[in-house]
Amino acid sequence: MINTSEILQTVHMITEEKLDIRTITMGISLYSCIHPDSRELYRRIYDKITHQAERLVPVGEALECEFGIPIVNKRISVSPISLIAAACRDPLTAARAMDDAARETGVNFIGGYTALVQKGLTESDRRLIDSLPEALAETERVCGSVNVASTRAGIDMDAVRLCGEAIKALAERTKDTDASGCMKLVIFSNAVEDNPFMAGAFHGPGEGESCINVGISGPGVVKRALEKEARGAPFDVVAETIKRTAFKITRVGQLIAREASSRLGVPFGIVDLSLAPTPAMGDSVAHILEEMGLEVCGCAGTTAALALLNDAVKKGGVMASSQVGGLSGAFIPVSEDIGMINAARSGALSIEKLESMTCVCSVGLDMIAVPGNTPASTLAAIIADEAAIGMVNSKTTAVRLIPAPGKEVGDEVEFGGLFGRAPIMRVSPYSSETFIARGGRIPAPLQSLKN
């Protein structure tokens, strides 16, 4: 029998410490939709998604009500569209079908406008990357991603260059809303096939027909636990406290994932053990790091603190779930974390420090606003740097940059809701033009002699 204090602890975590399920994401394979005729492709994609995900939102809402825990997002991910639209040579049709299906099913985002090009570009991949600015600017809910590197294949520098240009063009197309389109585009190294989090979610080629992946949250719960149980204590105690808390959070994620899967009749995929912040007070990963004793996130010691946090969350979560996957690590999206926003605003947190932080956590340079006049080649070079970190360290890294047109360092952009707001951060003013113009591939790294 559960006792009173345990019941009150759970209720308190949900009501006061903002424990929630960040997302239930249904992965749907679109291989059966492939067709050379674009009208037929549209119809097949629309029908398949709306049929498969028909009950996703109502079931998610019923779970929220019955278990008394908010499920912030219900989302869909689909097979990489560069594969699905290869035969009809028109990826934009697929984007429209995805957008219309997302609206019909009531999900707020649908991911999978994706190309996997770590080893090279097919004609279809190139068409998809070229179409990214138009597809993401003109649809409301479609998210795109490109995997440009992997530990086994190296970095495709032609794709990196194209992605830099695509981000720039997308920013221009959505300049009226401070380049908001760029929030929907992620450039990956070592992308995972079962990530439930947007904007980088897609239903990988190795996945089954359909599955339910769940992303948990809970930075507020971890911070409160550290305040109560580990203030002033050595790091061993800090790590133990985070592990215990992560275990509890993940058990809830596992429960919701199992329930969603059984009610929808779709196999359970994975629970993603990520600490995902929101701009709300008390829901910040940066504040956890500061609770460990840093004056402000970004000062010396931040990388070590984050390494501990990231590892302890995984150790606690792994035992709580039967299947762990996705990105599984602490997220550090600047605009979506009030502690990061303040640190960036005060100048304590730089892109260079964020880059080193991405060496020890999921997932990369995320939701960072940079000056609107940043050249495409510099954006591409930042992508290359981040891809290199992922490639060499055999981990996922990603870049989601927002070059807000007309904005300079000192300005801020406001995205609203969960996306928050971002101070424009300084990027190196020196040119990477000649470096990016080379193209070709950076070879895959050696897997021994690891120093």
């Binding site: 009173t4 345990e6 009150l8 019955e66 278990f67 008394g68």
Partner: protein
């Protein structure tokens, strides 16, 4: 895991006369059977936890009715399936 069809009702707020009566009445109206009650009043703060059997209840309607009652009484009333507590605190 076997479905237990049990839920936990938590009531927190300022103590007034008749809280248990009103909550119990609402549960009875929605065919929820009370299995256990634990209640304390600490410096004027009323705190009650009920374990109820909801096999015969329509969950969404019951939940809505309790939320409504909570607003009327100026209390925080929540009902959650018991599995979430088991998941978090028992291996």
């Amino acid at each position: 895991m076997e479905k237990k069809n049990q839920a936990v009702v938590t009531v927190v707020g300022r103590d007034t006369i008749g809280i248990i009566a009103r909550v119990s009445r609402e549960l009875a109206l929605h065919d929820a059977n009370i299995l256990d009650i634990s209640q304390t009043v600490l410096s004027g703060l009323f705190n009650m936890i009920m374990i109820v059997d909801i096999s015969l209840s329509e969950f969404a309607e019951l939940s809505e009715a309790l939320t409504f009652l909570g607003e009327e009484l100026g209390l925080e009333i929540r009902i959650q399936r018991s599995e979430i507590f088991d998941a978090m605190h028992r291996i």
